[in-house]
C-alpha cells in the first residue's frame, strides 16, 4: 500500500500532496431490554487526497474505491487549481517522519467472534436488569474498531498505523408514576478486547442510580457554590473552553483573535489547562495527527493565563506559532481540521473533603449527561447531583443543569483538588459535520465560587 501511495504522490502535479487511506473493521452489538437489537460487523474502506499549490486553495478528493486513486489525485488538483488566492496558504514546517506506529491492540477484537461480544454486553446489560424494581428498560451497546491507517505526503512522511478503539455504554431507565429517570455508564478507550472485561459493576451502579433518582427531589434553581466531579469538570473544560482554543476559530477572525490573545487572563492562578494527544491508551490518543505531525502535551492556560492554542499546520503558519498535532479527521471522508484530543484541567492540591468543608450550602454536580456551547454561552446537564450542606455531601438531587457565560464561569473557578483522573468515557466530539470524533477529558474535582444551577426553570 505504501508503495502505491508514494507512487501516487510522486505523480501528483500539485506542490503539496497527501494521501490517507483507511481500512476499518468494526462490530456493534446492542441490546434494548432483554432483546438483542443488532449484532453486526462491517468493513469500511477509503481514502482521501488533499493537495495544495502555490497561490491556490485546498483541493480535496475522498473516495471508497481505491482503484480510483490516480483519478482522484487529478481531481483534487483540478479543484485546487480552480481556487485562486491573493493571500497564499502556507503550511508550518515539520520534519518528515517514517514510522510503523502500531498501537497496542490489547487483545485484537478482530479475533473475537460476534457471539462472544454479544455474550459480554448481554452480561453487562444483565447487571442493569438485575437491579430490578423500578428499572423498566435498558439500552446496552458494544462497539469496537480496528483501523489500519496509511498516511503519505510529498514531503517524505510515510506512516502506517493500527488504531484500536472500544466503547461500551449502558442506559438504565427507571420509571415510577409517570416519572422516568435514567442512569448512564460509558467506557471508551483506544484499547482492545482485554480492557472491556470486568466492567459489570459500573453498569449495575448506573441502574441503581436511576432508581435512586426517582426518589430524589429536583434541585432548587439558583446561584450556588458548585463542585464539579472530575467527569463533569472535564466535559466542562472541553466544551466551554477547548473549542475556543482551536486556532481555526481565531486565525481568520481579528475580533476573535483579540478575545483569545495569548497573555490574557482567563482564570485565577489555580487554573491550568492543556490538551495531550500523546497520553497513553486514552480515546483521543494517537502518535501522529492526520497531517503526520507528532501529537504532544500542549499547555493552553498556565496559572490562569492563556499561553497556547491548538493548531493544524495551516493555522500555525498563519499565526506564526508551532503546529501542535491537532489536525484530525473523523474518517477518510473528511479533510483534517483543528480538533482536541485528551483535554484536561491540571491537578491542584488537597482532597475532595478539603474542597467542600467550608461550603455551607452548595451543589455537587456529578457525571455529565451532555452539554452544549454556543460560543460564550454554555449549558451542561449533570447525570445527578448532591446538595452540599455544612461541608458534607447531603441528599441526592436531580435535573442539575449548569448554565452560564464561559468567561465569567472560568473566572469563578476558585479551588482545584489534587485528585486528577482521566475520564474513560465513550461518546465523542462534533464539529463542522465531523462527529463523533474520539476524544476524552481529564480533571480533578473543581470548585466554582458561584454558578447558576437551573433545575426546572421558573
Amino acid at each position: 500500500m505504501r508503495d502505491r501511495l508514494e507512487e501516487g504522490v510522486r505523480k501528483s502535479r500539485a506542490d503539496y500532496t497527501e494521501i490517507r487511506v483507511e481500512r476499518t473493521w468494526a462490530s456493534s452489538v446492542s441490546f434494548r431490554g432483554r432483546r438483542l437489537e443488532t449484532a453486526t460487523a462491517s468493513e469500511d474502506v477509503g481514502g482521501c487526497v488533499r493537495v495544495l499549490s502555490r497561490g491556490r486553495g485546498w483541493g480535496v478528493a475522498a473516495f471508497t474505491s481505491l482503484d480510483h486513486l490516480p483519478a482522484m489525485i487529478d481531481r483534487a488538483h483540478e479543484l485546487s487549481q480552480a481556487i485562486v488566492l491573493d493571500e497564499p496558504i502556507r503550511l508550518a514546517d515539520i520534519a518528515p517522519v517514517t514510522a510503523e506506529a502500531l498501537l497496542d491492540l490489547d487483545g485484537d477484537v478482530r479475533g473475537v467472534s460476534l457471539a462472544e461480544k454479544t455474550r459480554l454486553i448481554e452480561a453487562y446489560n444483565g447487571e442493569m436488569l438485575a437491579v430490578g424494581g423500578a428499572i423498566t428498560d435498558t439500552i446496552a451497546n458494544y462497539h469496537d474498531e480496528v483501523t489500519e491507517y496509511w498516511f503519505v505526503n510529498s514531503e517524505g512522511t510515510a506512516l502506517h498505523e493500527l488504531r484500536p478503539e472500544i466503547t461500551l455504554s449502558g442506559t438504565a431507565l427507571a420509571r415510577k408514576n409517570g416519572t422516568i429517570e435514567k442512569g448512564l455508564e460509558s467506557i471508551g478507550l483506544r484499547k482492545g478486547w482485554k480492557s472491556a472485561q470486568h466492567a459489570g459493576a459500573g453498569f449495575r451502579q448506573a441502574a441503581e442510580r436511576a432508581a435512586q433518582l426517582l426518589a430524589a427531589p429536583t434541585v432548587r434553581g439558583g446561584t450556588y457554590p458548585v463542585v464539579l466531579d472530575p467527569e463533569m469538570a472535564g466535559v466542562f473544560i472541553h466544551e466551554a473552553f477547548g473549542h475556543l482554543s482551536e486556532a481555526d476559530f481565531v486565525y481568520e477572525n481579528p475580533q476573535a483573535r483579540e478575545m483569545m490573545t495569548l497573555g490574557r487572563r482567563f482564570g485565577r492562578p489555580v487554573l491550568n489547562v492543556g490538551d495531550n494527544g500523546a497520553a497513553a491508551g486514552l480515546r483521543g490518543t494517537m502518535p501522529y495527527d492526520d497531517e503526520g505531525v507528532p501529537t504532544q502535551d500542549s499547555t493552553l492556560i498556565k496559572d490562569g493565563i492563556l499561553v497556547g492554542r491548538l493548531h493544524s499546520r495551516e493555522t500555525a503558519a498563519r499565526m506564526g506559532e508551532r503546529p501542535t498535532g491537532n489536525a484530525r479527521a473523523i474518517s477518510f471522508r473528511h479533510p483534517p481540521i483543528v480538533r482536541m484530543t485528551n483535554t484536561y484541567i491540571g491537578n491542584g492540591h488537597g482532597t475532595f473533603q478539603d474542597l467542600i468543608k467550608d461550603i455551607k450550602l452548595g451543589v455537587y454536580a456529578c457525571s455529565a449527561f451532555g452539554g452544549q456551547t454556543m460560543l460564550e454561552s454554555f449549558s451542561f446537564t449533570a447525570a445527578y447531583g448532591h446538595m452540599i450542606r455544612d461541608g458534607q455531601v447531603a441528599e441526592m438531587v436531580k435535573d442539575v443543569v449548569l448554565a452560564g457565560n464561559l468567561f465569567e464561569t472560568l473566572d469563578q473557578i476558585e479551588r482545584i483538588a489534587g485528585d486528577f483522573q482521566w475520564n474513560q468515557i465513550g461518546g465523542g466530539c462534533g464539529k463542522a459535520g465531523q462527529s463523533p470524533l474520539p476524544v476524552t477529558e481529564g480533571a480533578p474535582h473543581v470548585r466554582i465560587e458561584r454558578a447558576l444551577v437551573g433545575g426546572e426553570v421558573g
Binding site: 468494526a26 452489538v29 437489537e37 443488532t38 449484532a39 453486526t40 460487523a41 462491517s42 468493513e43 469500511d44 474502506v45 477509503g46 485546498w58 483541493g59 480535496v60 478528493a61 475522498a62 473516495f63 471508497t64 474505491s65 481505491l66 482503484d67 480510483h68 482522484m72 483534487a76 479543484l79 485546487s80 480552480a82 481556487i83 488566492l85 496558504i89 467472534s113 460476534l114 457471539a115 428498560d137 422516568i180 434553581g221 477572525n253 475580533q255 476573535a256 478575545m259 479533510p335 449527561f369 451532555g370 456551547t373 454556543m374 460560543l375 460564550e376 454561552s377 454554555f378 449549558s379 446537564t381 443543569v401 448554565a403 457565560n405 447558576l452 437551573g454 426546572e456 426553570v457 421558573g458
Partner: protein, 441 residues
C-alpha cells in the same frame, strides 16, 4: 450490484433485501469570506439484510474490492445471534412518480457552485463580522431490492447553501445563520431570503436588552421550533410505540392538542431532498397524516416496527438506510401547522407580535435534544432570542431560559404566522404559544 447481491442471498438465506447507494458530494467552503477549499467525496456501499431460520441479520461494506458473498456471510453471522422476527418484505414494484432529481443541479460546474457562494458572501459582507458560506451539491443513486420481488432505483440531487455571520465584540459573540436546501440550485428569491433573514436578525440583535420573566407569550420562529417538535417526533415514531413509552399510544382519534395543530409527513412532494418514490426497504412512499386538527391519526413505521407490533400494522415507508447497521425509522418531509400555500413573507415573528405587551421571540435554543424528551418537558437557555415589548422587537436577550411542557403548551396555540418556510426537511411558519415559562437573569 443489487441483482448480484440478491442472487448470492437466495443461495444462502431464506429471504432478504439489499440497498446500494452511490453518491458524489461537492463542497465549496468560503471561510471568513474567502474561498479556500473545494472538496469532492465519492462514495458507494452495500447494506444487506438476511432472514435465516426466521432470524434477521444485517451487514454493510464499502469495500468494493471484496466479493458480495463476504458481506452476506457476515450478515448470516449476525442473523445467528438475532431473535426471530417475522419481517414482511414488500412485493409490489408499483411506486408513485416523485421528482427527486434536477439535471441543472447535477450538471452545475464547480465554478458555478463557487460563483453562487461568492455572490452570497459579497451580499453579506460587513466590516464588523466574519462570514462563512458553504455550498454543497450531492448526486445520489439509490437501488433497493428484495427476495419478494419489490425494488427499484432512482437518482436524487440535493443542494444546500448555508451562511453564517459571526460578530465578536469584546466578550459578546453573536452568530446568525440561515440556509437553503433543495433538489435544485436556489432561485434568486431563495438567496434574497437568506440575505434578508440574516441581515434583519443581525441588525435587531445588535441592541442587547434584559430578559422579561414569568409566564409569557413566546413566538417560536420556524428555525426556533425544534424543541417544541422533537417530543412529537419521538411520540409519533413506531419505535417509541414498540417500546411502549409513547405518550400518544392508544390516543389516536382523541383531541390531544389544540385544533390549530396539524402534522403531515410527505415523501412524495416534488423537488424536496427529503422525498423518495420508495423508502430504503422498497416500500412505496405515501403522504401520511400524523396529526389532523389536534387529533393524532397515525404513527410512522418501517418494516421492523410494523413486524414487532404485528397484525394490523404495516410499514408506512419510512425505513432509512446507510451503508452500515440496520435500517432505522425516520421522517421524510414534515409539514407542521397550516399547509404550504403560496410564497410567504420574510418577517421576524410572522405577524404574531401584535398585541404582545411583554414576551419573547425564540430563534435558537441551546441543548435541544438533551434531557427527557419523550415526556414533552423542555428547559433550555436561549442561543438567539429577542425581547418583545408592545408588539415590537426591542433587542436581543442573552441570559434567559425558557421551559414548559409541549403537551400543555400545544393545547393553547396562540396562532401560526404568515412566514411559512422550509427549514431543512421541515415546513412551518412561526408559532405563538401562551404561558411559556421564561426565566431571566
Amino acid at each position: 450490484m443489487i441483482p448480484a447481491a440478491l442472487e448470492a442471498l437466495k443461495k444462502s438465506a431464506d429471504a432478504g433485501d439489499a440497498c446500494w447507494q452511490r453518491s458524489e458530494r461537492t463542497t465549496i467552503a468560503f471561510e471568513s469570506g474567502r474561498l479556500k477549499s473545494a472538496a469532492v467525496v465519492e462514495e458507494s456501499g452495500l447494506n444487506v439484510r438476511v432472514v435465516k431460520g426466521g432470524k434477521v441479520g444485517v451487514a454493510g461494506t464499502t469495500a468494493a474490492d471484496r466479493p458480495p458473498a463476504e458481506v452476506i456471510t457476515r450478515a448470516l453471522a449476525s442473523a445467528e445471534l438475532g431473535e426471530p422476527l417475522a419481517l414482511e418484505f414488500p412485493s409490489s414494484r408499483v411506486y408513485p412518480p416523485v421528482s427527486t432529481h434536477s439535471a441543472r443541479a447535477a450538471g452545475a460546474s464547480t465554478a458555478a457552485l463557487a460563483d453562487l457562494g461568492r455572490g452570497l458572501v459579497e451580499r453579506l459582507l460587513r466590516p464588523d463580522a466574519q462570514i462563512n458560506v458553504t455550498v454543497e451539491r450531492e448526486v445520489e443513486e439509490t437501488s433497493v431490492g428484495n427476495t419478494a420481488g419489490a425494488g427499484g432505483s432512482y437518482l436524487a440531487t440535493g443542494v444546500s447553501v448555508s451562511a453564517d455571520v459571526t460578530r465578536v465584540a469584546e466578550n459578546d459573540v453573536l452568530m446568525v445563520y440561515d440556509y437553503y436546501v433543495g433538489t435544485d440550485l436556489p432561485q434568486p428569491a431563495a438567496l434574497d431570503a437568506i440575505v434578508e433573514s440574516i441581515t434583519r436578525r443581525l441588525e435587531l440583535a445588535l441592541t442587547v436588552t434584559s430578559s422579561p420573566g414569568g409566564s409569557l407569550p413566546v413566538v417560536f420562529s420556524p428555525m426556533g421550533l425544534s424543541a417544541i417538535l422533537l417530543p412529537l417526533e419521538e411520540a409519533l415514531s413506531g419505535k417509541t410505540l414498540v417500546q411502549g413509552i409513547s405518550p400518544l399510544q392508544g390516543r389516536l382519534g382523541e383531541p390531544v392538542f389544540g385544533a390549530e395543530l396539524s402534522l403531515v409527513d410527505d415523501p412524495t412532494l416534488a423537488d424536496r431532498p427529503g422525498s423518495y418514490p420508495f423508502d430504503d426497504e422498497g416500500v412505496a412512499a405515501a403522504r401520511l397524516p400524523l396529526i389532523e386538527r389536534g387529533v393524532p391519526r397515525g404513527f410512522v413505521h418501517d418494516l421492523e416496527t410494523a413486524a414487532r407490533l404485528g397484525k394490523g400494522h404495516r410499514s408506512t415507508g419510512h425505513g432509512h438506510r446507510g451503508v452500515f447497521g440496520k435500517p432505522r425509522l425516520g421522517y421524510s418531509n414534515l409539514i407542521v401547522g397550516p399547509e404550504p400555500r403560496g410564497p410567504s413573507r420574510v418577517t421576524l415573528g410572522g405577524g404574531l407580535l401584535d398585541g404582545i405587551a411583554e414576551g419573547l421571540l425564540i430563534d435558537d435554543l441551546i441543548g435541544v435534544g438533551q434531557g427527557n424528551i419523550i415526556g414533552g418537558a423542555f428547559s433550555h437557555p436561549v442561543a438567539l432570542a429577542y425581547r418583545i415589548e408592545k408588539g415590537e422587537v426591542t433587542g436581543r436577550v442573552k441570559d434567559a431560559a425558557v421551559a414548559g411542557n409541549v403537551y400543555d403548551l400545544l393545547k393553547r396555540i396562540g396562532g401560526w404566522g404568515n412566514d411559512g418556510r422550509w427549514v431543512g426537511a421541515r415546513w412551518s411558519s412561526s408559532l405563538r404559544l401562551e404561558g411559556v415559562s421564561v426565566a431571566g437573569r
